[in-house]
Subunit: 405 residues, 2 copies
Amino acid sequence: MNYDQVIADTVKTNNSKIVLLVMDGVGDIRHPKFGNKTPLEYAHTPNLDQLAMTSAVGRSIPILPGITPGSGPGHIGIFGYDPLVHTIGRGILEAVGIGFEIKSGDVATRCNFASMNDHGIITDRRAGRIPTETTMELCNILREIKEIDGVEIIIEPGKGHRFVTVFRSKSNELGALINDTDPLNEGKAPLDAKGQNESSQFLAHVVNQFIQKGFALLKDKRPANAFLMRGFSSKPKIPSMLDKYLLESAAIASYPMYRGIASLLGMHLLPAPDSIENLFKSYVECRQKYDFFFIHVKGTDQAGEDGDFEAKVSCIEKVDQALPILLEHKPDVLAITGDHSSPCAMRSHSWHPVPTLIHSEFCDVDDVRAFHESACNTGSLGFFESKYLMGLLLSNAKRLDKFGA
Amino acid sequence: MNYDQVIADTVKTNNSKIVLLVMDGVGDIRHPKFGNKTPLEYAHTPNLDQLAMTSAVGRSIPILPGITPGSGPGHIGIFGYDPLVHTIGRGILEAVGIGFEIKSGDVATRCNFASMNDHGIITDRRAGRIPTETTMELCNILREIKEIDGVEIIIEPGKGHRFVTVFRSKSNELGALINDTDPLNEGKAPLDAKGQNESSQFLAHVVNQFIQKGFALLKDKRPANAFLMRGFSSKPKIPSMLDKYLLESAAIASYPMYRGIASLLGMHLLPAPDSIENLFKSYVECRQKYDFFFIHVKGTDQAGEDGDFEAKVSCIEKVDQALPILLEHKPDVLAITGDHSSPCAMRSHSWHPVPTLIHSEFCDVDDVRAFHESACNTGSLGFFESKYLMGLLLSNAKRLDKFGA
């Protein structure tokens, strides 16, 4: 018996409401230029600190110690799906990240416009990083190719030189075990697509025709007269939050990537608000309709990746100021965490465990006076893999029976 | 996907240097006769404490909670090899422990000289614990048996009544699925060797002939007129540190056991220095040549096993005094830990989690003022299985890409 089976065996419903507030990349490390404090320590957060005084705290480990997660595995984990089991392909993540609604059976790839010389050799894998507007024009040209061998071809521009191609078929199973066509180094020709099984061979044949036709259409469009395809993948077979936890779930998030991941897990997508205050108000308005609310704050991660300590502090303070909106209509269980840390000093995601707080009637109360990294080191949640967070939320919501007699 | 695959998927190289300083058996428990302090608390360690103030600390669990490791699993774990997957046979550990260079295909066993009566019954499994010198003489006698059925027989004396026999063949595969010949109780005859598969049956046949010929040679050598063989094992198939982590690795250790384990993992063995100061100087001299340095201090474990609190304190203080040698040529990542605890009050290895420190530019800094057990309880590394230590070191060295997009 494994953890998922224990959850399946013990989960039940009631009328409780659970809110999981994800401050993306909120975890950080102490910064010598800011009094050797982390942004959570440095920020003025009376509401968060007050909440911490009546909560259980700890630190969650996104994947396993020392592993830095991307946004996909980071989020998959906090929703209780083992990120080493439920891997989401890069093509799917890219499609989801630009707001494309992936259907079961679709195969998605992320594509780069590239430059190719007369001998078919790639001279620039990013086509001189052409602007998004040019990519939109070029995608419109490629959209002339609507279908090959009964497979529908859907093209969506992304940022800069990137776009997504989705293959969809009503009649054929489309396999995604197909190599990247990107030769990874300039000075080489794009690779042919090859499938590792029958359904992938079928799609690889379609892909090669698409490339041939596409290159013909782009012939005079230097520097973007070619494209490279990577991360062929299908929509993952993953149980919904409803099936797994019996939770009617809703996502309140403004960024396509997180809306997309939520949608892969069967969450309802609520309208995308434009401020932290409105994220919380959206919960208040819809709180009768769902059991579980995923609220996503992007600013903390963005500031971390920009190395902007003060912006991160400011985003944390905005969350703190808006917190009373949530607390006035307090859910039965309120959890605050991040999908990973994004230390300003590193300007990137990191492996550092994420400060985490769970507040409920029976959460227990720790000896902490504030919500930040070192306070959470000593909390009663300890250090735990984030894939166990949902189990903790369900038990705090009294939605898990005891295991065994 | 498992942890090893995540590491393989994300590992990359750069110019960083990593030093892993292992103070063998350094962890301890509070001792009523020494102010209720552990040796790390009791020792005067200004340099270690200063380092702890700018480091991340925690406690590593050698195998799993409550499990006391031997030196083999203890070390295998801190190098990131799951000690429950990569078990090293006792014969191999014994051979390695006396500095014997095991080759692929060798089968090694650890052997005891024993006393046997005229009826072939073992009367003393340790031959009255004969001294090492006698064992050396007896081994020279056994060395008359150089080869049986094309299998070379190599005999190396160990400490006291112990020796190692290694079987080596150019023409035959030698299986190691062979039972111990030690009947485990006095009053019984030695057991015949039996193989569990074809290649082991072949070697068992050789072993039985070796025992017969050996006993004939020892006939008049009472009390040591027989020997018992245990732990038949082959060199484990284990990926090297270079293959697993892309790290050119070197071991700075003076005891054969640790040099042997390092060599099984493909580490280069640097000359064995005679003092802690010289261990550290050896790193300084060779630091340009390797990426990763394993420095092994034995004194802490020895003192623990001797129950000598003051000797353990003294060894810790010697490490502290020599530490500036390391710090003057500070590696990008410096970790200090043990392979297990060896509490003086227990005079043995133990299961207690091991104080661990990681210092790097991005390690994060905890609320601790000293390096010892209870300080480490509150650190940002938390309590973690030691098999994850290498992942933490690699990520601190920026040698791991993020996992997933």
